[in-house]
């Protein structure tokens, strides 16, 4: 029996890590930013459990446990900080925070205009529900 293929799990870990990295750099919502960072941690955890299996000892799993713990603390603190930042500018956009730029650099604004809002859908006007309103008994053909 051939030994279990360690490299497969490492490949999965690498792909998840790279995806998390791309997301971390690209996304502008602070929460999503943080979730991508968590995904990177998760990829590392995958790697660690794979190594634990191939060594046959629990060191990798213990370390994964600790990483989990630290990730939880990190999530808590990060949330608090996100809340603080949200309170100042009332948006979760991380790009509004540009105070650390060089004094002679212009702030980076969004240039591309949003696509125009689709017109609100016109719903057909329905009469209000309820008993049939009073109407004159006139030329209504009941045929």
């Amino acid at each position: 029996m051939s030994p279990p293929a360690l490299e497969n799990y490492l490949i999965v870990g690498a792909i998840l890590f790279a995806l998390g990295l791309v997301g971390f750099i690209t996304r502008r919502n602070m929460i999503i930013l943080f979730l991508c960072a968590e995904m990177m941690v998760l990829a590392v955890a995958v790697n660690l459990t794979a190594f634990a299996r191939y060594h046959g000892n629990l060191g990798g799993q213990v370390l994964t446990l600790f990483i989990l713990t630290v990730a939880a603390c990190e999530a808590a603190i990060a949330l608090v900080l996100v809340l603080m930042l949200y309170r100042k500018k009332h948006t979760l956009d991380v790009s509004v925070w540009q105070e650390l730029r060089e004094p002679d650099q212009e702030p980076i604004e969004d240039e591309e205009p949003l696509p125009p809002e689709p017109p609100p859908p016109t719903w057909p006007h329905l009469p209000p529900s309820g008993p049939e309103p009073e109407h004159e008994l006139e030329e209504t053909s009941h045929v």
């Binding site: 293929a5 497969n8 490949i11 690498a14 750099i25 919502n29 446990l65 949003l114």
Partner: protein, 334 residues
Amino acid sequence: MVFAQQTDVSRSAALLAFWREYWVVLLPTALGFLVVYALLPRVRQSKQAWLTLAGALALIAAGMLLVHSTGIWQETLLFYSFSAIAIVGGVLLVTQSNPVYAALSFALVVLATCGLFLLNGAPFLSAATIIVYAGAIVVTFLFVIMLSQQSGVDNADLRSREPLLATIAGFVLLASLLGVLHRTFDQRELDVLAQQLDWLAQVRTVDEINKRYGEPEIGKMRLPFTEKLRKYFPETSDEDKNFATRLDHKRGRPAELREEAKKAHAALDELRVAYGTVAPHTDKPPKLKAENVAWLGQALFTTYLVPVELAAVLLLVATIGAIAIAGRREGTLR
């Protein structure tokens, strides 16, 4: 010198050799790069359906080319499905504009990853991860999103910061990681060589040799596979280590050829072990204990006691810190 080739020919030939060696890595990575780059949130979004198809294609290509199958079909099937779900979930997390969808896809990633944990013999970890990550963290984040961004999709969610450069950076890193893994773990050549050496270790007559490898002619005395062998065992001044040369010399004498083949096989095995598979190649690879939780608990409270205590302190400090920072308001504590 991981990727460097041993040839010293012209640059185009070197480039060609590079491509021939690593196309299994570069092709899926390139496809994935294109898919992710196109899918990243943008004000004018491209056609999603085609991209999804291309993404599936990239995933399948990666699965086929990169993954080495093991003997057990159940494990392979489970592995493929869990990892496919995890990767799809990851792509969704990165490329979805709606933050709620993205958070939910993260939960999906967590679930799939826990499946992978189970496959690796870590049931406690998988449960713990689901509870902490998918249960606590994702839910909390969802709450935050829903409370602070009640319009759903914000202006910021529709744009991405430097999509091209970020994708290039990430996928170049990915390509280098996968390339290293491929180079390290790609033992197909080694397997083929081992197979040849195994056959040679049991050869009886010269006729068999000639039948398999062709009649020896003037100028073509060497066995065909010794070229590849030379790649792994380059010529040295130590005569005993020049396996390829010795095999070639002993072509006409089966008895000595058997001896040489056995020696070469042993050396190859050692090389295989040293090549990156860190676990020693013995008949009985070490296994994890089945009672995972018990043994994990024992390890935590004996060998790793101090880190556990420190982690506990860390949790406490984080809690206090979170309350302290969050409690700070202008005015009274509300």
